[in-house]
Amino acid sequence: MGKNILEFRHVGKKYGDNVVLKDISFDIEAGKFYTLLGPSGSGKTTILRIIAGFDDATSGDVYFDGQRINDVPANKRQVNTVFQDYALFPHMNVAENVAFGLQIKGVDKKTIQERVHQALHMVRLDGYEEREITAMSGGQRQRVAIARAIVNRPKVLLLDEALSALDHKLRVDMQTELRQLQRQLGITFIFVTHDQEEALAMSDQIMIINDGKIQQTGTPVDIYDEPLNHFVADFIGESNIVPAVMKEDYLVNINGQDFECVDAGMKTNERVEVVLRPEDLDITTPDKGKLVATVDTQLFRGVDYQITAHDLRNHEWKINSIHKTTVGQQVGLTFDPEDIHVMRYNESEADFDARLDSYEEEE
């Protein structure tokens, strides 16, 4: 376990009667890449603003490097932000923008020049020092904004929807670059986004935020493979979410059919939800399938076909397959026991972890 650089303890935030954050607690370990992921209005940007010091928490405590920082103004925090709209100063050129923070701190001219040069080199903007901001493209402005933040050597770098204004290709390139930059600098990145692909691609840890609460925290793989609740399963990736009944340990009944699974630790005949990822469903002949379904639609997406089909009980299934099928055809759907992920209603993250530990130890 690394050292905690940042801690939230029961942080709440209200604007008048509007509750934006409800009892948020988390730890941020130094040197990792974190992503706050959630739909718009979920409260993720508010968390970022509280870390940066632009907003105050209504209740609870924020600790930075062990010190309570609720009352420390934004300009005294060892945190720098890359803003969604970049917020570059239009009356300064690239070098002046990047040098701003150092100049404020009274660093000597020669050091400023060196560090500005270094920072611009890190974001691959060598030679752009004298350019005016208005003469830069969106992607270049993005890099200037990053350089302006990292030149101050903050302990934590906050990125607010930093890639959302870029086109798809540039965004994917920047994801790789940001990840590299974070490893190179070794500082903590906290990235806010509503884009789940971005979150999965870059993060060490993802925090899923919805409705002012943290829904689930974990590595991208954990969150994708073991979503805690309906919201997370639905928000991250594509999924088939079906109501089911847990017959006994390792046996779940979906739509009146029993299936072997790898989940346990629940009550007998407990009502649960089951997640099956579309890419885990395989299409086969009807006699070999665990379910029989009729293909309704088929979309070619380049990497695969997105297929929808309905089974005998008229339940709709989403299937991603690299093999083509025919609309209207009856097919069999198969999946392995480990493809079934069982979710209990209203299970907290702590309970979920405890349950997982309990039966994994038995094995």
């Binding site: 632009f54 803003f83 239009p90 701003f100 005016e132």
Partner: protein
């Protein structure tokens, strides 16, 4: 194409009749003496007469003072307004007096400042005695600044309103204090508004004449007063036009100095 040509007619008429024609007429008039003979003597008189030069210096000096006082009052006003919840409403209150006729406002001040006016009545009430307020430089400056303030507040307010709030957050985020943020971000970004305000106040102040008479008691004689005198009293239209031309030139100089000198996209 033909349809578009129709739309330009009002603008073209306006420009020709009310901008170009008067300018040409003033320039033309300025080359005739009081007896209607062509001459350049008006300009020579202006440039050699100590009276006119003193008047010009006085005009520029008072216009400068009025502009300075107005700016000192208006910038903080605009800055405070921008942070208020109902800023549009408070701004409206600042603009409201401009809807009232200038002369009417000036007469109102006579009522306030006169020997038996409200202010002297109050001073007497608190036993400070009655004072001569009207026809002083101070009262002239006060009324002139009062009248010009909305024209300074408005462009500064607009310039401040245009500043992206995340720039201010960015400045704080990079370690700047409130004052440093003001000095390095807010002030430079509001400069275009300040310049526009200076243009809107300085140039009209050069040719103020009503206030100089009614409030200043003709103790302050500006170029505006001189033009009025030449056209209405001495009937020397040529000399009046000459001073008019001088004012127009002064206008262009001010516009040039306060013009937008920021280079866009350049310097590579």
């Amino acid at each position: 194409m033909r349809q578009k040509a129709v739309f330009i007619v009002p603008y073209a008429l306006w420009i020709v009749l009310f901008v170009i024609a008067p300018l040409v007429l003033i320039l033309y008039q300025s080359f005739f003496n009081i007896d209607g003979q062509f001459t350049v003597n008006n300009y020579l008189t202006y440039l050699t007469s100590s009276v006119y030069l003193k008047m010009t210096v006085a005009s520029v000096w008072y216009a400068f003072l009025i502009t300075a006082v107005t700016l000192v009052i208006s910038y903080p006003t605009a800055y405070v307004l921008i942070h208020l919840r109902n800023k549009q409403f408070w701004l409206l209150l600042v603009i409201l007096p401009t809807w009232i006729n200038l002369l009417l406002k000036t007469y109102a001040f006579i009522g306030l400042f006169s020997r038996n006016g409200s202010i002297n009545q109050f001073l007497q009430f608190v036993e400070l005695g009655s004072h001569q307020l009207l026809f002083t430089d101070a009262s002239f400056m006060f009324v002139a600044a009062y009248i010009e303030i909305p024209f300074m507040v408005l462009p500064i307010f607009n310039a401040l309103a245009e500043i992206n709030p995340s720039l201010i957050n960015a400045s704080k985020d990079l370690g700047a204090t409130q004052w440093q943020t003001f000095r390095s971000v807010i002030w430079p970004l509001s400069l275009p508004g300040v310049k526009a305000g200076i243009q809107a106040v300085f140039i009209p102040s050069l040719s103020l004449f009503m206030i100089t008479r009614l409030i200043g008691g003709n103790r302050v004689i500006t170029l505006g007063t001189a033009i009025e005198e030449h056209f209405l009293t001495t009937q020397n239209w040529g000399m009046g036009s000459t001073i008019g031309v001088i004012l127009i030139i002064a206008m262009f100089i001010v516009m040039f100095i306060t013009g937008d000198t920021r280079q866009k996209g350049g310097r590579q």
